[in-house]
């Protein structure tokens, strides 16, 4: 870009203020104090504003992942094999220019590290500009699922007030740009099987859940038998199988249900923590 020229119509800098040679020398010396800024400074300013993203690598239970961010928050998490693949994915998913010269602020880095290691209290700002409201509703609801627990797609749909949008919830989760930070691996199919995962497929989803202490094999065994809910014969409360309250039920008092109707018919009420709902699978 050329030097800006408006404002300069009555430019008076050509008219010398002084002809005193001593002062002319000082003027010349001061002009010498112009110095170009570091090459990456403009990029860093643009990243801070959020018009350009930067990215760096983090290590997780699933191996190294790249995290794209700007001054407003994290914009993408992806396990691409190399920089070229990461850039291509970022172009497709985010669409903003991507640079690598900006240093992530320490506070953001620490928050991301804590969240990736499972600390839900670490607050990581997310920049989800340009996403549909429905998608954001799905992702924000997913943030509420505790570590080590899973919820079916239909549960998200019911919780955000769109009980019939089960398939749309699945699609929105598949487009989650920030997996692990928004724990879409904790959302499973209504029949209890694990389902798809955007960060490297179903095997990675299983690994992510097992790393958090979810007994995936037991979950699959329950679902194979058609069991969707577990109740306690002492409290007469029924839960989703991974709800921490369901995990406290002793073997002797555990009762399995295929549907909420069956549980209600047996005189059980729904848990107020995991709020189980029936969804046509």
């Amino acid at each position: 870009m050329t030097r800006p020229t408006n404002d300069r119509a009555q430019a008076d800098h050509s008219r010398p203020l002084t002809t005193d040679p001593g002062l002319v020398r000082v003027e010349a010396a001061l002009r010498e104090l112009r110095e170009p800024a570091p090459a990456a400074l403009a990029d860093r300013s643009l990243v801070a504003i959020g018009l350009v993203d930067s990215w760096e690598m983090f290590s997780t239970a699933l191996g190294p992942v790249g995290v794209a961010w700007n001054g407003r928050g994290v914009t993408m998490v992806d396990a691409s094999e190399d920089a070229t693949a990461f850039e291509a994915r970022h172009r497709q998913l985010v669409g903003r220019p991507l640079v690598s010269g900006a240093r992530m602020p320490d506070r953001l880095r620490q928050a991301i590290e804590r969240r990736l290691s499972g600390d839900r209290r670490a607050s990581v700002p997310l920049d989800l500009r340009g996403r549909a409201e429905f998608e954001r509703d799905v992702w924000l609801k997913t943030l509420e699922i505790p570590k080590g627990e899973v919820r079916p797609y239909g549960w998200i749909a019911a919780e955000i007030g769109r009980p019939k949008a089960v398939r749309a919830v699945g699609t929105a989760l598949g487009r989650n740009p920030v997996p692990l930070l928004v724990p879409c691996h904790r959302v499973v199919r209504t029949d209890g099987t694990i389902g798809q995962y955007s960060l490297g497929g179903p095997d990675n989803k299983r690994r992510a859940l097992e790393a958090e202490g979810v007994d995936v094999v037991r979950l699959e065994r329950l679902s194979a038998g058609g069991i969707r809910f577990l109740g306690s014969a002492t409290t007469h409360v029924y839960c989703l199988p991974t709800c921490h309250r369901a995990q406290r039920i002793s073997d002797r008092h555990r009762v399995g249900f295929h549907s909420t109707a069956e549980a209600a018919g047996a005189g059980f009420r729904a848990c107020r923590v995991c709020r189980p709902v029936s969804v046509a699978a």
Binding site: P4, L46, A48
Partner: protein, 198 residues
């Protein structure tokens, strides 16, 4: 693209046009901040903050106001204010002794110029060492002389632009620039004399 075309674009689509503004004005905002603050790390942070403030301001301005903006003095004013605040904060924490050496009334007889940065002639070219000494002398001037000198010579502004950026009449600025140049020359000569004696 000149600044008038740029303000027209900023008024229509801020996000699309702002990158051009950042790329076109980073060098000068950085130069202003560097000569007001001295430390590169401070200058870089002030430059980033300048554009962040500018972006937020433009996001709130109605399009007519953006079209009428004169970007050079407007950005300079933001950079100067941020640099001033930072300098005040820094000097509260650790008073920089060398920066208080010039008496405000410019009494040159008692003026004790600050020592220039320690440089060994072998390591640094004369040009570089000389520049650093001018920079140190400039940094030691009282703010009401230093600011106009930086905008005038480091940023190449017209007096009309300086008047807008600093909110001072052009006549005042001209005499401050003239006085500032004289103070700098005197400080330079005094340092030379001292070197000759030593």
């Amino acid at each position: 693209m000149d600044d008038m075309e740029l303000t027209a674009l900023l008024a229509v689509d801020l996000d699309a046009a702002f990158e051009t503004l950042v790329r076109g004005h980073t060098d000068r905002c950085h130069a202003i901040a560097l000569r007001l603050l001295g430390r590169p790390a401070d200058a870089e942070e002030v430059t980033q903050d300048t554009f962040l403030r500018a972006y937020r301001a433009l996001a709130d301005y109605p399009p007519e106001r953006i079209r009428e903006l004169r970007l050079r003095p407007w950005l300079a004013a933001i950079a100067v204010n941020l640099a001033r605040n930072r300098r005040r904060r820094l000097s509260d924490r650790a008073p920089a002794l060398s920066l208080a050496a010039v008496p405000a009334d410019g009494d040159l007889a008692t003026y004790d110029p600050p020592a220039g940065p320690a440089t060994s002639p072998e390591a640094v070219s004369i040009g570089h060492a000389e520049r650093d000494r001018w920079a140190a002398l400039l940094a030691a001037l009282p703010e009401h002389y230093r600011l106009p000198l930086v905008l005038r010579y480091v940023d190449d502004q017209s007096y009309a632009e300086m008047s807008e950026a600093l909110g001072r009449p052009e006549g005042t600025l001209k005499s401050q620039v003239h006085r500032g140049l004289g103070l700098l020359r005197a400080a330079w000569d005094a340092a030379e004399r001292e070197e000759a004696i030593a």
